[in-house]
Every structure is written in C-alpha cells, then in structure tokens.
Point group: C2
Chain length 207, copies 2
DNA sequence: TGCAAAACCAAACCATGAGTACAGCACTTG
DNA sequence: CAAGTGCTGTACTCATGGTTTGGTTTTGCA
C-alpha cells in the first residue's frame, strides 16, 4: 500500500475535484457553480482559479481522473480474475462476478458515471473534452473486445455475432444500470444487471 | 389518420417544447436558457411565461409528453407484434425486432432519452418531476415484466431468474445504448444493442 | 360587429455566476 | 535572509438568466 505524498496544493486540488464530481453527478455540470464548490472546499475563488484555468479545465481534469481510475479498477479486477483461471471465458466470467460484487459493495450505490453525465451535456464542453468521452468508450470496447476475441477462439459460436457489439453491451448495461439504479433508488439494480450480462456471455459461448 | 386541430396557442406551446427538448438533450436542462428557446421560437419572454408558470413547469410538461409518447409507441409496437403471433415469446421477439428497426430508421439516431437526461440532473427539479422519472421506469418494468411472466409460464427456465430484472435490462440496454451511440456518433449502435438483448431473451427461454 | 378571452410584447428587476486584478502571506531553496 | 513561488483573500466586473408587472394585439365567438 503506497501512500501518495501530496503537497498542500495537490490536496486542495483533489478536494475541489471530489466535491465538484459529487455535485456534477447530482445536478449536471452546468448547474454546478464554482461558488458552491469553493464554499464546501473552504477556499476562495482565486484559490479555485489558481488550480484551474477555467471551468472547462476542471471538467477536463475530472474526466481524465475518472477515466484513469476506471482503468486501474478494471485492471485490478482483470488481474484478479486471470489469477483464478487460465481459461479466457472463465476468467471473464469471474471478472464480471467481481465487478458485480464491487458495485454491490458501494454503500449508497454507484454515484453515477461521469462520462454518461458528460454525454448528456456534450454541447457544453470544448472539443477536446468531448473527444475524451468518445475515446473513453472506445477504450472499453477495445479492452472487453480483446477478451471476447480470445474467448471466441476457444469457444466457437454457431451464430454470427459481432464481438465489438457484445463488448459495447457491457458499457451500455453498466451505464443504463446506473441510471435505473439512481432513478429507482435501488443500489442493488446495477450489480444485478451486470450479472444478467454475465448470463448472456455464458449462454453465448457455452451454448 | 386524425389531424389534431391545434389552436395557435397550442402550436406555440408545442414549438417551445420541441425546441426545448432538442436543446435539453444536447446540453442538459440547466444549460438550456429560456432566452435561446424564445429566440428560436420567435416569441418573447412574456410569451414563454404565458405558456409555462416557470422553468420547472416546462420540464414537467416536456417529461409528461415524452412519457406519453413512449407509451403510445410501445403500445403500437406491441399491438403489431401481437397481431403477428399468438405465442407470448415470439410476440415479444417480434416486438424487439420492430423496436430495433424503429431505432435504426431514425435518420440521425436517437436524439436522447429525456428521462435519462433528467436523472443526471435530478437535483434541479421539484419533487413531482423526480417522482415522474421514477414512475416512468417502474411502468416500463411492469409492462415488460408482464410480457416476460406470460412467456415464463409457457417456457419454464431451469435457472432461477428474476423477471423484473430482465425487464429492467431492456430499459438499461436502451438507455445505455443511447448514451454509447451519442458518444461514439454511431446511430447503428442502439438497434444492435436491442438485438443483443433479444438474443438473451431467446437464449433464456429457448434453452 | 363587438367584446371577452387568449396570446403575446416591452421593459425592467434582481440574483447568480464566471472570470479578473491585485495585494498579501507562507513556504522553501540559494 | 533574500527572493522567488505557490497559494489564499478581498473586491470587483460584466454578462446572463429567471421572473414580474403592466400593457397591447389577435382570435374566437355571440
């Protein structure tokens, strides 16, 4: 367990981003004011503008951090799963179980997907932020797609099937599951949806 | 084909809502200003406030209309499907195909789900609007769930399976598919996701 | 044709919110 | 200890945006 040594500045920067992210996931980016963030963070406006050039800069930094975090989380889960089975299919199934468990363990449910939130306010952000959301989704497609291709090699399916679509479906089920879980105030919904996706994978490759 | 006779007022009201909905799906509700709407609609602010008590009132009216529209669309698709097969499973499979086709025929792809958009800015709206989004999702669960229960009666599954979860999954896949399609600028993505859900249904009940 | 109701307009109000200018404090490195 | 640099505070600007008040036109209908 490495404890990052954070300078005071890094700490405030992180605090700003944490608070901002919570607010954005509840009200959307546009409705989240710098004012409210700095009040909660216990700093002043100049403090904010020292750390971020403007609001869009904050949006970008948050998104980058979010994508990085997701990446490392999935990395960990995949490594865990790979350690438990050599077989690509079973490893993927284990991964999905781990993923579902992780989502089930979030005390108040998943707070929301920042990428999804951004997509529904796309027109607010600069071009580079928008391409980041696109790239984020493409990376997941690639990542899950790779796994699926390894599986398909060993477990040939009868029906024609686009593996990229199947990879996308995990993102879709997760994003959709988060929305439903929020809307229905039911944190158990997301993990259950992931397990249904797992069923599809099983049914697809195990006949 | 009944053509609704709309008074001038009803026409402007509709125009406002159309423009607002487009804007909201692109930028979110908070970032959509009354100003821009009235400019596009060719009216003034007072014109707007004649039709809507306040901005939240507009949000509510838009959501109600959206839910009603969705309801009638699904109604039509279900009726069409039921006319083509007596069997609940096949009827549902036909319905899913029709649904996918409908989504595929949208020239620029699905513009976005208003409910999903609202969920990611929940904290902006009054309580009644928020309960409307919840109710909306519950209605879909009920509607799809009913169909699935009819299917399950005739096609018993071996594995334990919560049909409400399976019903929710259609909403999740749709909402998630819309997000992905928007993010990746690929209108074909949504219908493909629906067809993958259809595969799951087939695999589940036809072994 | 006249008149009430419906539909709309003009102009202001007030709050909020993004962003700036600039001064001041607290490190920490030469 | 001097000088920079990282960070915070005060005090503004300027634009936007939701909402109100009080009037004017247009429309449907008796």
């Amino acid at each position: 367990m490495t404890v990052k040594v954070q300078s005071k500045g890094e700490q405030t920067r992180k605090r700003i981003m944490d608070l901002a992210q919570d607010a954005v996931l509840q009200k959307g980016f546009a409705a989240t004011s710098i004012e409210e963030i700095i009040v909660e963070a216990g700093i002043t406006k100049s403090g904010f503008f020292y750390h971020f050039r403007d609001k869009n800069d904050l949006a970008k930094a948050m998104l980058q951090r979010y994508l990085d975090d997701e990446w490392t989380v999935f990395d960990r889960l995949f490594k865990q799963a790979d350690a438990l089975s050599e077989d690509p299919l079973h490893s993927f199934l284990i991964f999905l179980k781990l993923f579902a468990d992780l989502m089930a363990d979030l005390p108040n449910g998943h707070p929301g997907c920042l990428v999804a939130s951004y997509v529904y306010s796309e027109h607010l952000f600069s071009r580079d932020v928008r391409t980041m959301t696109t790239e984020g989704h493409l990376i997941w497609r690639k990542r899950f797609g790779e796994r699926l291709r390894l599986i398909a090699e060993r477990y040939p399916t009868q029906t024609e099937l686009d593996l990229d679509d199947l990879a996308d479906m995990l993102s879709a089920v997760a994003d959709g599951g988060i929305i439903l879980a929020k809307s229905l105030h039911d944190p158990t919904l997301l993990p259950k949806q992931i397990l249904l996706y797992r069923n599809l994978i099983k049914a697809t490759f195990l006949e």
